[in-house]
Symmetry: C2
Subunit: 461 residues, 2 copies
């Protein structure tokens, strides 16, 4: 998609030096998203010039779509006085996100300038800033259409015509009481399909699905995706209408939360920007702690192996199978954990289901363990390590797959039960635990099936 | 979300036996999604009775939302004659998906019954069935509003009123020529905000973003999320309007593709249904092949360790560090691969960027490797394994993290270059390759730093 923006850079640079007044016409036909990409490709001084050449209401939707870092750089480059009119034209939710992301001193100056330019916009920011960024309150906008109940369909359509320009969505109209309580909702579709003289009360839906401002943004996204909602109202505890969440913001949340989950599974802290926009030190900060925690967790494997010093000294062959066995435990564990973590995320699996999850996973583990045992025993036999090893590896594989599936499936549920995020916390725990338990299982079983060999070799050594 | 449905089951069961005619009134105020959950909780015979008690246009939106397995069971339970009127009321895209999913014989009978009941609906199915399920063509609907260009704004709104009942979205109106070529698009919002007497040609946008029917559904979803489109037209090569993709279908695609990516990273084949709806043997089929491939790949570690038989026999301490070292290689590799796979999926990273990716990953690997080396050397020193081991482990950690990051970052790009799906294929390759290379690095470095110890012990043994 960057193609559109890349292709425009030379022409825009030329106009900037020769005739900036023409920029507005050139950019008029281009989608704001492509213009945001274009701004990202220019250096800060050029980008500032482009935004200044546009009217504030043209610049605002482009500015909204820039990533946080570019926005901050441009606020600094253009100065609070020049940026304030653009900020006042931004959607209320994006405006709040911007002001919250700026360093305290800059955001203070910007907010007080905004209070002079557009007091209503400043008030909206103060209202929306109350809620955490990743909650329904942080996602909602106050730019919606609301009406009283004593109107006809024609009145409401007239009202949409009057205020629709500034609203983020006009496809739903919210009916509120004099005190701001939500009474009902009506879609523009239903309004258009109804007779103009019909009463609003007769076409609206009273049973409105709503969320509280504290609801987690991922839950909001999943609810809207499940029910195919284009907009979702946010209500206070006493059912006052606080704002509306629109589907476009939710699609970004879905993508963002999914990126985070993937990164967590890969043991990387959540990274907000795209790969090439993320700085070197951000990557180190997101990777080093996880890598170090996993590393220190794995020290345990060294501790445990030292407990089998005697066995490893007398039968070196035992060491050859360690990586094969512990990786198998890890793989079966990560299969189970990825299924359960995803199930928890989309709401298919709940903590209370742990018993039925355990039964299912153990059932699968028996079959999977049998398959791997057969393949593994055949391989050991071909290596010629003798019957003792054939039996040891076969039994260990069975035990390790059972253990891997149990740990992989139960640990995410346990972590969720303890109020922790299963995607974040499962990986390091499962990795170390499964490796350590795998080694313990292996040497315990080896002592059993290889008792003769160990005794002989010990005596001979 | 299942709570709503669960709470209704007893009441619905009671009405089914006592007074099925009242069902329609009871279910009228419930969201179709919750009703679909309810149907899923009933047995097939009960579910069939509920659907029969409703009018076809009430039953269709519920039936649309059922998963494939339940739909098929209900077609069998209710019979083609009873289901056809419901199928005729379904959205064209869902109707097509259903008929494509049914066994050939049933779908043939259903389609010929549909041709009698509603020939237009049958024709739409034949049109949409041309395209693969996971392409734009498989996602689009033919239930959209299109008009000719010689109309006024008021005419178009009148037209929406007339045909809007059956359209999947009325928020965009497509302007087409007599031959079906797309000329432009206008949003209902722009129509409402314009003066009723204005000409359509003056309010429409000619520069319409569109996709071809072959476009992959994931690309469609990302495009719509990026540009905040609520609907996206699908055009043939000669720009004829074939259909429209709406945002609600795309949100499902985002979730579905994400689940698949997560499952692939966890080495599980893509699973379509939710955890508890997926059968035992489906899980085995999705898990066993991957587990077996990974297992056989790990045989290599055994082969490589056997090459260092002498070293392992004379210095058993060497074996204690194997799990620690190879897991560190695996962790740094999976950090890099999860970043790159996600970057490829969302379009941030392209195959052509491999050189700059390599530079970034190597730079990060140096810092990460240094951090782990320092921690690791301290631990070895505390274990009291001697200077030779302190140096060996320090150097090996550095080498292994460099190798892990390189393999983890480059392999997904190479696989994509070869036309393979990086999410599917990376995991097993990276796991085995990093383990094997890690062991090779470890023993090669050990031979260097532990030469004296190995010679002494060898002579002494």
């Amino acid at each position: 998609m960057l193609r559109v923006a890349l292709a425009m850079v030379p022409e825009v640079r030329q106009l900037l030096t020769e005739d900036p007044a023409q920029l507005s016409d050139l950019l008029d036909e281009i989608h704001d998203e492509d213009l945001a990409d274009l701004i990202g490709l220019l250096d800060d001084a050029e980008a500032a010039k482009v935004l200044m050449a546009l009217r504030a209401e043209e610049a605002a939707p482009i500015f909204e779509r820039l990533d946080g870092e570019t926005q901050e750089a441009l606020v600094e480059q253009m100065g609070v006085e020049s940026i304030a009119p653009i900020v006042s034209e931004m959607a209320a939710d994006d405006r709040t996100d911007l002001i919250e992301a700026l360093p305290d001193q800059v955001s203070g100056t910007l907010l007080s300038t905004l209070e002079k330019v557009d007091p209503e916009a400043a008030a909206e920011v103060e209202e929306l800033a109350k809620w955490p960024e990743d909650s329904a309150g942080g996602l909602m906008t106050t730019d919606y259409v609301s009406v009283g109940i004593h109107l006809t369909v024609a009145d409401v359509i007239e009202r949409i015509r009057a205020v629709g320009e500034d609203a983020e969505t006009i496809y739903y109209v919210y009916i509120v009481s004099d005190r701001g309580h939500l009474i009902g909702v009506v879609s523009l579709r239903d309004l258009l399909l109804a007779s103009p003289s019909e009463k609003l009360a007769d076409v609206m839906t009273e049973n409105v699905f709503a969320v509280s401002p504290e609801t987690d943004q991922e839950e909001v996204a999943r609810t809207m995706a499940k029910y195919d909602f284009n907009a979702l109202p946010v209500l206070s505890a006493d059912r006052k209408l606080l704002g509306v969440i629109t589907v476009d913001d939710v699609m970004d949340v879905l993508t963002e939360e999914q990126s985070e989950d993937m990164q967590r599974l890969g043991a990387v802290g959540p990274i907000e920007d795209s790969y090439f926009k993320t700085s070197f030190w951000t990557f180190i900060q997101k990777r080093a702690p996880w890598l170090a925690v996993l590393f220190v967790g794995e020290f345990m494997t060294g501790e445990v192996l030292r407990r089998f010093e005697h066995e490893l000294e007398v039968v070196a062959t035992l060491a050859y199978y360690v990586p094969l066995l512990i990786s198998t435990g890890g793989n079966s564990g990560s299969q189970s954990s990825s299924l359960i973590i995803r199930g928890l995320a989309v709401g298919d699996v709940r903590v209370g289901d742990w018993a039925s999850v355990l039964v299912r996973e153990l059932g699968q583990a028996v079959v999977l363990g049998l398959i791997l045992s057969v393949i593994g025993m055949l391989r050991v036999w071909l290596w010629g390590d003798g019957t003792g090893f054939v039996l040891t590896i076969g039994a260990t594989l069975m035990a390790i797959v059972l253990m891997g599936c149990t740990v992989g499936a139960m640990l995410p549920l346990l972590l969720r039960r303890l109020g922790l995020d299963p995607a974040t916390s499962s990986t390091p725990f499962i990795a170390s635990l499964v490796d350590v338990l795998g080694i313990l299982l292996y040497f315990t079983i080896a002592r059993l099936f290889l008792a003769d060999l160990l005794a002989q070799a010990g005596a001979g050594g």
